[in-house]
């Protein structure tokens, strides 16, 4: 599950680098941070934070990154459908 999440995060960062929006990049990095947190918790190395705090952090990070995915997708689709779409946004679609 952690490996899968890491791969999905890599895809999001790649989407961002393709010019589809910074939101994907930030979301991907948040995804990576969450997986690091989860891995440390599973390995029992997260001794600084209590289980309640880790659970809250995981939920908040999950919510923020899903919202980032949603907003970035919506922004991209809006820009794509608008007439004056910037070239760098349309370029990947034309490839």
């Amino acid at each position: 599950m952690v490996l899968g999440s890491l791969l999905f995060a890599v895809m999001m960062v790649r989407l961002s680098r393709e010019g589809l929006g910074k939101g994907y990049g930030i979301g991907g990095l948040l995804y990576l941070a969450r997986e690091v947190l989860r891995t440390l918790t599973i390995l029992g190395l997260m001794v600084i934070l209590s289980a309640d705090v880790i659970s809250f952090l995981e939920c908040i990070l999950g919510l923020i990154l899903m919202l980032l995915i949603y907003w970035s997708s919506e922004d991209f689709l809006k820009e794509l459908h608008s007439e004056g779409a910037p070239v760098e946004v349309v370029k990947p679609v034309m490839r």
């Binding site: 791969l7 895809m11 790649r14 659970s55 919510l63 899903m66 995915i69 490839r95």
Partner: protein, 160 residues
């Protein structure tokens, strides 16, 4: 490409709802724990009855939403793969996440089943205690040393 981003957007929306539900569940449980357990107040009976099914329902809804969101991400990543083959990594990632979710669900189910079967055997198949052994021996007319002569029984099985 557009279809892929649209599927990812739907997945993101469903995922947001799912994580919001998870957060609400966490807040609810923490609030109840803080209010009633740490302050050693008595929890009302209706709340005690309600809290389990409510958090279970929220958790189940969250799980269903997450799985649907993951399928949307999978669909989106499949479309995006045509645009750039390197984005195939997302599809593989989603597959791994789905299999991980299913495996953890299966693991929990096995543990719960094992625990419930152990409890069942504790009620029915427990080794009989000394009282039960004496009762059985008396029923069969067997003398049990140290416990005296078993009671005499008539034809109808009643003790005389």
């Amino acid at each position: 490409m557009v279809e892929g981003i649209r599927a990812v957007k739907v997945g993101g929306l469903l995922g947001s709802i799912a994580w919001a539900l998870a957060l609400a569940n966490n807040v609810l449980l923490t609030f109840i724990l803080t209010t009633f357990i740490r302050t050693s107040l008595n929890m009302p009976a209706w709340l005690e009855d309600l809290i389990g099914p409510l958090t279970g329902l929220i958790g189940a809804t969250m799980l269903v939403l997450i799985v649907i969101a993951l399928f949307n991400f999978y669909e989106g990543a499949s479309h995006l793969r045509r645009f750039d083959p390197r984005l195939d990594v997302g599809r593989i990632g989603v597959l791994l996440i789905i299999s991980g979710v299913l495996l953890s669900f299966l693991g929990s189910w096995i543990v719960i089943t094992a625990m419930s079967s152990a409890e069942g055997s504790g009620q029915e198949g427990v080794p009989p205690g000394p009282g039960a052994v004496y009762e059985r021996c008396c029923d069969r007319g067997i003398r049990v040393d140290g416990l005296g002569q078993p009671p005499l029984r008539g034809h109808d099985g009643e003790a005389i």
